[in-house]
């Protein structure tokens, strides 16, 4: 595989995938998409970055460890679930506010963002954990 082409492609493709994933996450409540799918797309961007530039660069691009992503995601999902006690009657009771110009916003959307973050953390966690020791991109081609 030609690393130059791959790196050039990844340089433009990875950010595009991130934007795509956020768009899928946002529209997921009304059209195909959502936290799982968005998270998988964003995770693929991390994987692509790792293949092109190596795991160290991918970890840097992630801005935080996979563990941190999963922790933040769990905290968001659990927080949204616990908000059910505040605004509703029990765990996971959904609460909505109608924001003019944007549409209804509610705790299920926070929950979905949490799912997104956990999936991103898990996908990048598996990839970085399974990355062969000392294998930087192009190492075996050289």
């Amino acid at each position: 595989m030609n690393t130059v082409i791959l790196r050039t492609a990844a340089r433009y493709l990875a950010p595009t995938l991130i934007i795509l994933s956020l768009w899928l996450l946002w529209r997921g409540h009304n059209a195909p998409g959502g936290g799982f799918i968005g998270g998988l797309v964003a995770g693929s961007a991390v994987v692509l970055h790792a293949i092109a530039f190596g795991p160290v660069a991918a970890r840097r691009a992630l801005r935080g460890s996979p563990r941190a992503w999963m922790a933040i995601g769990m905290a968001l999902a659990l927080g949204a679930a616990l908000l059910g006690f505040v605004f509703g009657e029990t765990l996971l009771d959904a609460a909505w506010v109608d924001v003019p110009g944007v549409g209804p916003l509610g705790t299920p959307l926070i929950f979905d963002v949490g799912v997104f973050a956990v999936v991103v953390g898990a996908v990048s966690g598996f990839t970085l954990a399974l990355w062969p020791e000392g294998a930087e991109p192009g190492a075996e081609e050289a």
Partner: protein, 118 residues
């Protein structure tokens, strides 16, 4: 149509089980993933899959189009796919670690744990 798909699901299971009974860890894991795919398709087919509009509410309506696909099995399968991925990832990490520690990917050569049944 679902008769044909029952055959396909059965074939996926058979292929997956055949691979899971091999000695090499990689083939076992490929088999496991095939069985997972087969299980997801089994739920989908058994719940009455047919060519139908997706369970989306079109603009201006209150409910999906008549005859839309059943959303519940889809929700179940969606998470099952992701969970299956998670299980595979964990199993790969386990396989990687055991082959590196024990020097073989042959399941028949792995040392057994001590104290069986005592």
């Amino acid at each position: 149509m679902h008769g044909l798909m029952s055959l396909v699901v059965g074939a996926l299971f058979a292929a997956g089980v055949y691979l899971m009974l091999k000695r090499e860890i990689l083939h076992v894991l490929v088999g496991l993933t095939l069985v997972g795919n087969g299980a997801n398709l089994a739920i989908f087919v058994a719940s009455g899959a047919r060519v139908a509009p997706p369970p989306l509410v079109p603009d201006g309506l209150d409910a999906p189009l008549a005859g839309h696909a059943d959303p519940l099995p889809q929700a179940l399968i969606l998470t099952a796919i992701v969970i299956g991925f998670g299980v595979l990832g964990f199993a790969l990490a386990l396989a990687r670690r055991s082959t590196e520690t024990l020097g073989t990917d042959d399941l028949d050569r792995l040392p057994t744990t001590e104290g069986q049944g005592t």
